[in-house]
């Protein structure tokens, strides 16, 4: 069992917050593997926690879908099937479509300029990777994150960030990029950003949905081809 991310002292308000962060990071990094059964006592030893805050963190991670808890029997890291992954993409499609529409209606000029600048940075990145990768850093530098935030629909942000994104991140690095896909994805991002800049909500929604549907179709065909197993 490799040693997990080292917990360093931080400015969080509660130990439960710490616990949540440690565990989530360990899950996303695969240090706690999908399907793996994990025990409270072991986790407490490993992350230097006591059971109270740990249990609270487990509850939060459960509500995010990252863990599956069974009363009296313990906790497993979630493991989702190919079909379930595709269902997540269906949900993502409609929700991010809505986010793009609302972003088009609500983002101001400064924010739109920042979005374009973000894409300029991404374009440089793709070029440096010789078109072989389009890796987006998490958080503020992620295109999708910026659109969802730009929707200014707090509940939508919360649901996507809380319920979907972390779950999807368990799997994202599994999909090596199809040839030419980074440039294409970047172009699609550009089109979406342009629709948003024009305030054309309907078009932004349409383009975002198409973009995510393309990703879903890609995953679906690769699952069928047996290129990927989950």
């Amino acid at each position: 069992m490799p040693e997990a991310s080292s917990p360093t002292q931080t400015s969080s308000q509660t130990r439960a917050d710490d616990a949540f962060r440690f565990l989530q990071a360990a899950i996303i990094k695969g240090e706690l593997a999908p399907g793996e059964k994990i025990g409270e006592v072991e986790l407490c030893d490993r992350f230097n926690l006591t059971r109270g805050p740990l249990r609270e963190a487990l509850g939060r991670l459960e509500s995010r879908g990252l863990l599956v808890r069974k009363p009296h029997a313990g906790v497993r890291v979630v493991s989702i099937s190919g079909d379930e992954l595709l269902e997540l993409y269906h949900i993502r499609e409609v929700m991010e479509g809505l986010a793009a529409r609302q972003a088009a209606e609500r983002m101001n000029q400064k924010e739109v300029a920042e979005l374009h600048a973000l894409l300029d940075g991404h374009e440089k990145m793709v070029a440096e990777a010789h078109g072989l990768a389009y890796f987006q850093a998490e958080g503020d530098y992620d295109f999708h994150f910026c659109i969802v935030t730009g929707s200014q629909n707090q509940k939508l942000v919360q649901m996507l960030m809380g319920d979907l994104y972390y779950l999807l991140r368990l799997y994202r690095c599994r999909f090596s990029t199809a040839p030419g896909r980074p440039q294409k994805a970047l172009k699609e991002h550009r089109h979406i950003a342009e629709a948003i800049a024009l305030g054309d909500g309907e078009l932004a929604q349409f383009l975002m949905q198409r973009h995510i549907r393309a990703a879903r179709n890609n995953i679906e065909s690769r699952l069928k081809d047996g290129d990927i197993t989950l």
Copy 2:
């Protein structure tokens, strides 16, 4: 402070489950009012719980958006603004649209027949209320619940049931019915069910989205007219 729902002994697996159920019911019934600050010790006295399971229940309710917790400062029942309510309806529109589409693709003939029977029962109910109300019991007898379940998209069910429906139920009984609206809503339900029976996912999605948009528009105009304050 009126006495809350009486906790009766049930067959749940943990006291945390009990606590969750008691509290959720009290919130939905308005016994714990929107915006109200609630204290752990008081809740323990009231529901005959200890703080461990109670805190776990509070965490779950927080993740469902029914409570707002602030570290070291306590818990409040959520209170959402008119704008926030309308945002929820936007989300509901796209997600239930997806649910209707997937239900059209996946529900079998028996399930579709049950859906029609459900609507027959609703029609009788509306007639008995002389067109003045279209009250749907929660759970299995709720049209929307049946559609979402019929989508067979587990994550979608979970997100709608876990993140949206209970929140919306805090507010539903606030909206007295516009004249003629029950019959209209029932007719819209019928159309949706017919599209599902035909397996026409696109039409089912369109009709469901229109149905929910109508509800949102109704709420929006009444908020603007000052008919309703939250």
